[in-house]
Subunit: 321 residues, 2 copies
């Protein structure tokens, strides 16, 4: 049995800057604590102030170093920064990611920074369900900026980036072929491009290719008045941090001026409401007839007496009766 | 408008070995053609004969080469082989995967082999929805073995492996740290381990570490009478292919002897029925009030007049009224 939590007090403490209260609230929502709804209701009035920035890029691009650099730059401006580091939940990825996370420990003792690794595997509803919940906690706790960081592999992981107000796509020299092959997808999600490791050979080529891609795409996208900037960084040396922050600020101003901020946040809220509703319906489907209904129908499919679409219809009927 | 298809004729031709009919059927189900249900109903009586083998492993392990080797070995036994190659649907991954696929072209002209790349992004319901549908087509078309191949990154991609009767986990020397860090997840999904690139330094270490992991885990898992074998291969030279096929055959025999084959297939069918039902419900939710209901509720969340859980309740109410 879960222990009853004084939600109001916990939210108060989180808003007062207590990191442990923030961590506890995120754990409550991640674990779908029985008081989950109470927590969400208590947080909601305090939300809407955080700027949400997504960071993604292919493996090896220097994502964690870039995140760390960005944290420092935002802290220098006095901003409180929350980080949700989304791990691709593959059984093979444990080792590498552990190493990545260690690079962010320089910020671990800063009370103005809160870093949370989202261990998503097995969560009910997965990333689409859990990430907006954790985001709401950080927003309500008064973090000015929340960075949502994920490596650009896998459907669920990239979808998380769509939660952001502004999405930064990180690239590095020597990935030119990849950029060309995948340009549509990258252009679709990026608001700001960062070419990291810009002191390496090939950086000029990468920037030039990106510029071409952006200008070609602009001819096709009417009414899109935001021109994606390209910022060069050397994250390990902290070079280019100020320019990235400047690009983020400019994009935020553009979002507000074009009512795009509200549109994106409504989209994020719609996705969240949808994910919660689907999760509820899923739980109901699985519970039908004391958990036997789905299994019975599955047996029918295995025995070829019913096709899966008819079985799904019969399953849904159970919800309505 | 989609053109009406003679489903019965198409299924007949696919079962007669016509590759184009097989490809057309997979496209129909992938695109959720209006006659999708008719297709599923026509396929169902012919299903249940294919052995489904999942192959996964970390990037760089030689997955496509191993798949190609396995195809050759199964063909030598006279088996018809279908392959579903699941690409992680990241906007960054285009280039590398294209290269991977090319390595399988040696089988492209063999009428006993059918290879399909699943381009999953944007699909309604995603991989959980589309892959079992494509699997059913290959099963009904009379392929003896269907290989479902995916790189072990990302939640959706690894989940696909759970569709298999037998799952092969590929590893390679020099990934020792990764294995240790991630052993729980890897042990959970693997029925057969293949250590590829076994002619390289460190192969003995990898095999030894794996053996230790397996024997430690066996003490914890009661009643699990299958001991995961470890097969060494050098896929580029075709070495070890016969041993992999032997391990697959042994596992299949074990599955049948322990009623585990039926249990796994029922699990797969349950997942498929669930995914179809959730997809239907999702479509209904999104369509409520001519598509306006979800947007209205999302606006309420952005304006902080309702929390997302209450909004989800209200959305679901619309389904029942």
């Amino acid at each position: 049995m879960a222990v009853a939590v004084d939600v109001a007090e916990l939210v108060e403490r989180a808003r007062g800057g207590q990191q442990r209260a923030v961590a506890r609230l995120i754990s409550l929502v991640e674990d779908a604590h029985p008081q989950l709804r109470e927590v969400a209701a208590a947080l909601t009035p305090h939300t809407g102030n955080a700027t949400v920035v997504g960071l993604t890029g292919p493996p090896g691009v220097g994502k964690s170093t870039s995140t760390s650099m960005l944290i420092s730059a935002l802290r220098a401006e006095g901003k409180r920064v929350g980080v949700l580091a989304i791990d691709p939940s593959s059984p093979f990825s444990g080792g590498a990611l552990l190493g990545d996370r260690i690079r962010m420990t320089e910020h671990a003792v800063d009370p103005g920074v809160f870093i949370r690794s989202m261990a998503t595997r097995g969560h009910l509803g997965g990333l689409a369900w859990a990430t907006p919940q954790a985001l709401r906690v950080l927003d309500a706790a008064g973090f000015d900026v929340v960075l949502v960081e994920t490596v650009g592999v896998g459907q669920s992981e990239v979808d998380v980036v769509r939660l952001a107000d502004t999405t930064v796509v990180l690239l590095a020299p020597g990935m030119g072929d990849g950029i060309q092959a995948a340009k549509a997808g990258v252009l679709e999600i990026a608001d700001v491009f960062v070419v990291n490791k810009a002191d390496r050979d090939g950086a000029d080529t990468t920037v030039r290719e990106l510029k071409q891609m952006i200008s070609l795409a602009r001819r096709e996208v009417r009414g899109h008045s935001w021109r994606q900037p390209i910022v060069r960084t050397v994250a390990v040396k902290g070079e280019g941090a100020a320019q990235v922050v400047e690009a983020l600020t400019e994009h935020h101003t553009w979002l507000e001026a074009n009512d795009e901020l509200r549109r994106r946040r409504a989209g994020r809220a719609a996705g969240e409401v949808e994910a919660i509703a689907l999760q509820s319906l899923h739980a109901e489907l699985v519970d039908l007839r004391g958990g036997r209904r789905l299994a019975e129908l599955a047996e029918g499919v295995v025995d070829r007496v019913v096709d899966p679409f008819s079985a799904a219809d019969q399953l849904i009927e159970g919800l309505r009766s």
